[in-house]
């Protein structure tokens, strides 16, 4: 488990480092995620080494964004003043994503099955 955490933290540092030196618009944690995935895919890191640590981190992931979410208390006025724009945008965009991804999956997924 400690080995798993160490590797995950190492990938995070590597991702953050890459983000800083190349000035990529991709966050360091996403770069770390991609590198870890590639290391698993090409069998550079054995799956068993990171399995348990990754599971414990992702199973209750939602807990970790509570402090950031509480930060909304700083923006209550901004939300109150823009509630209609925010509401329409979020609902409209949610349907756009739901339907476009769904139809693409229905169309291309069927073709794959044949």
């Amino acid at each position: 488990m400690i080995r798993g955490f160490m590797l995950i933290l190492a990938m995070l540092s590597l991702g953050t480092f890459i983000n800083e030196i190349i000035d990529l618009p991709i966050p360091g944690n996403v770069i770390g995620m991609i590198i870890l995935f590639l290391c698993l895919y090409f069998k550079i890191i054995p799956y068993e080494w990171v399995k348990d640590a990754a599971q414990s981190l992702t199973r209750r992931m939602s807990l970790f964004f509570i402090p950031a979410g509480v930060g909304m208390m700083e923006y209550l006025d901004m939300i109150q003043n823009n509630w209609l724009m925010i509401g329409v945008t979020i609902v409209g965009s949610m349907f756009a994503v739901m339907l476009s991804a769904g139809f693409a999956g229905e169309f291309l997924g069927k073709k794959e099955d044949k």
Partner: protein
């Protein structure tokens, strides 16, 4: 109230209160199972009410719960392991899944900018909404990287998740026939909260929805700077 104000000065209390409230709301959610009582949303609302009433500054709370917030980074990296696990089982439909999540992320970013501009939204507010269909840690990073307000983004992510998880099951099974399409629709629009509902539809739906979380995160990260540059 002064007592509570004083208690929140301590790191241990702030951490214990956050974890405790989360556990309570999780237990309630297990009993009632309505997506509207999402434990994260309920914990956030309750904490805001408590902090406001007892006059605790967000800065104080933020500093004392830094440990919880820190875990976001490693948990995103750990998603790479989930991606690997699911890619093994879903390899056959890789083209459909990759195209659908790519299209979903482009549509997500574009629709926020267009609708937001139409309704007169300001630049920082619109950018904060752009990554709303992506799992929170990635969404916050995308927001920060492109000039949004990460903590507002975290709120929008939860709102869209709760909405997608409650409206999705009423629409998705009627519109789409294949399990692949259902999973993609749920996971792309409502990330983890939507995936919890997709699992109720079936194991394939659940796995594909889970995979969409990671892919939406990667694609949205990649397309956001380019699309934003067209408008701002």
């Amino acid at each position: 109230m002064e007592v509570i104000n004083h208690l929140f000065e301590s790191e241990t209390f702030a951490l214990a209160a956050t974890l405790g409230l989360f556990l309570i709301f999780e237990a309630i959610y297990q009993k009632v199972k309505t997506p509207l009582l999402n434990p994260v949303l309920m914990t956030i609302i309750t904490l805001i009410v408590i902090l406001k009433l007892s006059d605790v500054q967000y800065e104080t709370y933020q500093a004392n719960t830094r440990m919880i917030h820190f875990m976001l980074g490693p948990s995103v990296v750990a998603l790479g392991v989930l991606l690997y696990e699911q890619l093994k089982t879903i390899g056959k439909n890789a083209v459909a899944i990759l195209s659908a999540t790519f299209l979903g992320s482009v549509m997500g970013v574009l629709s926020v900018i267009l609708i937001g501009k139409l309704f007169g939204g300001g630049e920082d507010l619109i950018i904060s909404m752009v990554p709303k269909s992506v799992t929170t840690p990635i969404a916050m990073a995308v927001s920060a990287q492109n000039g949004g307000i990460p903590s507002m983004t975290a709120v929008f992510v939860i709102i869209v998740g709760v909405l997608g998880a409650s409206i999705g099951p009423l629409i998705v099974p009627r519109v789409f026939k294949t399990a692949i399409a259902k999973g993609l629709a749920m996971g792309s629009c409502a990330h983890g909260i939507g995936t919890a509902q997709a699992i109720q539809m079936g194991m394939v739906e659940g796995a594909i929805s889970g995979l969409s979380i990671g892919l939406m995160g990667v694609f949205t990260t990649l397309v956001t700077p380019g699309i934003l540059a067209l408008f701002y």
